[in-house]
């Protein structure tokens, strides 16, 4: 049996919130996957209850506070982070005895709105032709109008590239501060203030901020929160029509270029290369390893630290770290990666880390579970062969 780090750590340091966060991350992946499975099933059987649809805003409950979650759209559906936001939102809502609301923005979104209703006490549907695509000027304006109307205690959004463009502006217009990239949210029992923790200094430090002014506005790091469990009651769907027009749009879209769509955050295993990889030939070796790992894992992806992306050997969509993806695979194999702070912040959630590096002093070994000191040109092909043999 492998050393069970989780139980040992909990034994020694169960009172420390740092450890709790780490443990949470380590444990999380399995749970996320399990619950996501549930969500997908429920979507397929989701029933539509006509009665619960209420046009207009007459039925807004004013006797209770509310936690507002902004649904993150993905294609025609909902991105998985939405369920993490809801999970975090439900916890705060019960602490504050508030109701949990989810907000969807888009156009012709009644299907997805209906499916979402199973996860919250109420659903605000902002269905408008101008909201069909993410347009920060319009989204900020529409959300501000909604916030002014429904007066949420907190607004929870995903820490995504799109939201980087939205949340500061929404917060400013609401006269509050936004704390981005949070990994833990706690309501201070005696005051009801929100304590939110985020990694700073390349994840070497965790900082907890206290938000006093409502609405508490935060963005949450993907994979850091448990997803919501399916609820028995369906939330009420409320249609809200924001007053927006095209004149609010200050940025003109010329064209959109879709690049290779990589979902590193869904990978079960990641083989990532760094500065040590040097050239396309080195990259081919990593791809060989990925190929054989696919016999063991459902989804294996190539990742990279910043030097490989800067050298244009790997597209930026595969970058892992502070400005790239934050990942939480079962297995992370770091090849030729020294382990700079900016990279390490992206792999905190990885369950097991294997590092291959020629430099025994490389920082990556400090965060790895297994290490090999040696040249990847020899280690990787041998590893690949043996894995093939063992299957």
């Amino acid at each position: 049996m492998p050393l069970n780090r989780i139980s040992i750590w909990s034994f020694f340091c169960h009172s420390s919130s740092i450890i709790e966060i780490l443990i949470k991350w380590l444990k999380l992946l399995g749970e996320i996957r399990a619950s996501l499975g549930n969500c997908a099933d429920e979507k397929a059987t989701g029933m539509l209850i006509e009665d619960s649809q209420v046009e207009g805003m007459e039925n807004i409950r004013e006797d209770k506070g509310r936690i507002l979650v902004l649904a993150e759209r993905e294609g025609e559906g909902i991105a998985s982070i939405t369920f993490e936001l809801l999970g975090a939102g439900r916890k705060i809502a019960s602490d504050l005895r508030a109701i949990l609301s989810i907000t969807l923005l888009g156009h012709e979104i009644s299907d997805v709105t209906n499916k979402t209703a199973q996860f919250a006490d109420e659903v605000y549907s902002l269905d408008h032709p101008l909201l069909a695509n993410f347009e920060p000027d319009l989204y900020a304006s529409a959300l501000k109008q909604l916030c002014q109307k429904v007066n949420p205690d907190a607004v929870l959004m995903g820490c995504t590239l799109n939201n980087l463009n939205l949340t500061p502006r929404l917060a400013y217009r609401m006269g509050v501060e936004v704390i981005t990239d949070c990994v833990e949210l706690v309501i201070e029992p005696e005051t009801g203030y929100l304590l939110c923790t985020k990694p700073v200094y390349g994840a070497k430090v965790l900082s907890t901020f206290k938000l006093r002014k409502k609405p508490y506005m935060v963005t949450l790091r993907p994979k850091a929160f448990e997803v919501i469990r399916l609820e028995s009651d369906r939330g009420e769907i409320i249609h809200f029509n924001p007053v927006i027009d095209e004149s609010l749009v200050k940025i003109e879209m010329i064209e959109k270029i879709k690049e290779e769509s990589v979902s590193l955050n869904k990978a079960e295993a990641i083989v990532a290369g760094g500065r040590g990889i040097k050239d396309a030939e080195g990259l081919e070796r990593l791809k060989g390893l990925i190929k054989v790992l696919r016999k063991y894992f459902n989804k294996v992806e190539l990742g990279a630290s910043r030097p490989l992306v800067d050298a244009r050997l790997v597209p930026s969509s595969r970058q892992i770290g502070l400005t790239g993806e934050k990942v939480a695979p079962e297995l992370y194999i770091a090849v030729g990666i020294s382990g700079s702070l900016q990279h390490l912040t992206g792999i905190l959630g990885a369950k097991k880390i294997i590092a291959i590096n020629t430099d025994p002093k490389a920082h990556i070994f400090k965060v790895a579970d297994y290490g090999i000191i040696g040249s990847f040109e020899e280690v990787v092909p041998a590893l690949e062969r043996k894995l093939e043999e063992l299957k």
Binding site: E177, S207, K210, I251, M253, R306, T323, E377, L383
Partner: protein, 264 residues
């Protein structure tokens, strides 16, 4: 035609590429203390400066670099002048200590308003220390100008500014009228090489320094960030090294290990 007025906002941070043990945490004082690593210009702000320099190569442009802090290291920020910026303005005041993003944006916006007819403001997408990624957007809100974030390419053409910006599934080409603010991502490219000679050449160049009074700031609007708790995050795992005579042997052993330890 008058020269383009470009403003670049830069922040001084402890070198984020520094080793992990260089950051000590004083939980009592709620401060991060960098040990033995020099302050640098925030890397994303260097990308923003590079964007400005590329425009200056093409057009008649004046580049003003603005930085704000409680104490700023002049030699560090002079690098911007060596890179080709025309003016360096430091905003220094005791009152700027540990202020939140909104206050920082307020100070910077107040300084920028004093720059005559600015056309373009460039900032880094986020700072390498507190990693909020909001200041640039807040400045644009305060100045009520269009904002484009996460730029990987910035170009000026006759009728406006054209930007390639990162988005979740690729990139977009967008356009805005100037004046506008653009936040720049690392994909744009690193700041050009700066020689020692270039640094020496600007070592005596005058720098403008303003404080809160000079900027006629309303001190009521400056609020400190309320840090409730600050602690070092140790994700150090016990690394088991796979030993062997050769790299090849180690590779094979690792595979066996992975099987045995249930990694695969």
């Amino acid at each position: 035609m008058k020269p383009l007025q470009i403003v670049v906002c830069v922040k001084q941070v402890p070198d984020p590429e520094g080793p992990a043990d260089a950051f000590k945490v004083d939980s009592e004082a709620k401060k991060v203390i960098p040990v033995g690593i020099p302050p640098v210009i925030n890397p994303f702000d260097e990308n923003a400066l590079e964007a400005a320099m590329r425009i200056k190569n093409q057009f008649d442009a004046k580049v003003t670099v603005v930085s704000m802090g409680e104490k700023l290291a002049q030699p560090v920020l002079r690098k911007a002048l060596a890179a080709g910026a025309d003016d360096l303005i430091l905003l220094m005041d005791q009152n700027f200590k540990d202020v939140d993003s909104c206050s920082t944006a307020y100070v910077l916006a107040s300084a920028i308003r004093r720059i005559d007819a600015y056309d373009l403001i460039l900032t880094g997408r986020q700072a390498g220390d507190w990693d909020f990624g909001v200041t640039g957007l807040l400045i644009a809100e305060m100045l009520q100008i269009p904002v484009i974030n996460l730029a990987r390419k910035v170009e000026i053409r006759d009728d406006g500014i054209f930007v390639e910006r990162l988005c979740d599934d690729g990139y977009e080409v967008v356009k805005a009228k100037m004046p506008a603010l653009v936040t720049v991502s690392g994909e744009l490219g690193e700041l050009r090489y700066i020689s020692v000679r270039a640094l020496q050449a600007v070592s005596k160049k005058p720098i403008k320094i303003f404080n809160a009074v000079d900027l006629e700031l309303d001190l009521q609007k400056l609020t400190q960030r309320t840090i409730y708790n600050l602690f070092a995050f140790q994700d150090e795992r016990q690394c088991k090294f796979v030993e062997g005579e050769s790299s090849q042997e180690k590779g094979e052993k690792l595979a066996i290990f992975m099987k045995k330890e249930g990694l695969i």
